[in-house]
Amino acid sequence: MIFRLLLVLSVCLLVVSAGQVLAHDELEDGYFLVIDEEGRVVLETGIVVNVGDSFIDADNRKWEIYRVEGRTAFARSAGVVDLLGSENPTWFEGFLAWWRGLVQRVYPVQGEGQRVVSIYHTHTAESYEPTDGAAFKREGGGILEVGEALAEALRDKGIEVIHDKTNHSPQDAAAYDRSRRTVSKLLRRNPDLILDVHRDTARRAAYEDQVAGQEITKVMIVVGRQNPQMSATLGLAKRMKAEADEVHPGLIKGIFFAKGKYNQDMSPRVLLIEVGSHTNDREDAERGIALLADVIPTLVGVGAPGPGQSAGETRGSFNALWWVLGLSVLGVVGYLLVSTGSLKEAREKLSRYFSTEFKDVVRLGRPEGDRREGREQAGKSGERRPDRDGEG
């Protein structure tokens, strides 16, 4: 047995050695083109596009990707999206609005609280080739300066900014796990918004534009769809775009709803933004992200007595809530069915669980002997605890 395990270990070590060769610090060259049914380009991005992804473009048209061939993705239109979703609030949203109004009348908030925005970079090495000299710099790329441009613009508006420049290199599959720890640290300050600032890998023209009379690179918001609270994140992303469309039309290139979760499962206030591409000038990206700073005060509720939230965002949060609860119930039911094999036995197991385990918790204050006695009784009544013997 031990010999077999050592053999597995050796194989793993061999794989590690191979991994050293395969590991790369840089993204592959090239980009994906998303085209519509008439062959028009809807999106150009270095982010890998998959079937099931969707994209809300600058004009708020939603595109759903249904086929991917090589580096070309095919999308069909899913209509125009109402970003704020405020036209037909549900009865529950109406109730929440009424409740908020009532609370504010009874306990009026004096003045406004200090808003906090946190900025970090999962891919700290990302750079802008024309101005930084390379597309990646392991010691810290131009993306850090783009983040700082946003931080300074927000500080000028009286917002407290925490710009975390922790290096999460190398840019491998564990980079988001490493930056998860940074997000955790940032969350301790209870920020109103957390931004993971990246840059894309596409052609220069894909992001280059002129907005508010300045040469800038546009910004794309990325929302991960492998995240239990994706609806809440998407709600926030839509609101950011809606605010930007009001203040600086054309600044936001769109919202890409992609595979992955990008640490957005840590809080519904985490967004990932792509500011330009590696082919753009860093100065353009700095000007672009500085314009985004004009949007953020409204987004985080500066000047408002409470935290600002649109009907669409509230709906997103509650949609996510039902998903979390639904998936949890599904998981428990699935486990019960797998472990018992029939609905009847599953029901019995569940009722045994409630009659013994909860009683245990309630009796926490009582001596250990009493609870042991309870467990022994449960054991006699047929409750199986196969794990207790250590062997699976």
Partner: protein
């Protein structure tokens, strides 16, 4: 924070901690011990220590690394037999090597991965490898947690050799770190795999028992 976000966070925290308590309860801990450890994981999530600043920065979170490491050592030390102890220890190293290798092999972008986000893949693989090499729920739990810690330490060594000034922060996301997630997922997988295997064995035994009693039933086409 908006009311919708608060409700969502409360639900996620309740589900997560409920699962964590059930998993700890499976580790031969009493309810009181399981609750105390859960509390230590949560409170410890807010405490960090810096162990090294040069030549590379190494930080440790109490809830995300020190409590899980202490728990793993205690579970190993109190294992029933020397075989189980050795098996658990080997499982840790196998899982650590697998996770470190995986981070290098699978594509760096979550969008480029054929199945799930790498975080889920790491936790899942840690669980599967931990269970297969340890063959018990306890070993799976230990290997899942410690495998992630070992992989982080291996990455730190690589950074040190390559001269990258990146921070290593063991268990930095506290109770929500991949260290804990991997441990929990390992037990959930072990539970599902173990229970399914046991049920299959039980069904097989019952069927052979029945056919022994009534040989005419054998081969009647039931599956």
């Amino acid at each position: 924070m908006p009311v919708g976000s608060i409700a969502l966070l409360i639900a996620i925290v309740l589900v997560y901690f409920g699962l964590a308590h059930r998993v700890l309860d499976r580790m031969r801990l009493t309810d009181r011990q399981a609750l105390l450890i859960l509390l230590a994981l949560i409170v410890g999530s807010f405490i960090d220590f810096t162990l090294l600043t040069r030549p590379i920065e190494l930080m440790v979170n109490v809830g995300g690394a020190i409590v899980p490491i202490a728990l793993a050592v205690w579970l190993l030390a109190t294992a029933d037999s020397p075989t189980e102890k050795v098996r658990g220890t080997v499982a840790i190293f196998v899982t650590g090597a697998a996770i470190y290798a995986l981070a290098k092999i699978i594509p760096p972008e979550p969008t480029d991965n054929p199945f799930l986000d790498p975080s889920y893949v790491f936790a899942g693989v840690a669980g599967v490898v931990g269970y297969l090499s340890g063959r018990s729920r306890r070993s799976a739990f230990i290997a899942g947690m410690m495998g992630i810690v070992l992989a982080d330490l291996a990455q730190m060594t690589e950074n040190l050799i390559a001269g990258i000034a990146a921070r290593t922060w063991l268990g930095g996301a506290g109770v929500f770190d991949t260290v804990i997630l991997a441990g929990l997922l390992a037990v959930v997988l072990a539970e599902v795999v173990g229970e399914t295997a046991e049920r299959l064995v039980r069904t097989g035994e019952e069927r052979s028992e029945a056919s022994r009693r009534d040989p005419n039933r054998e081969g009647d086409g039931t599956s």
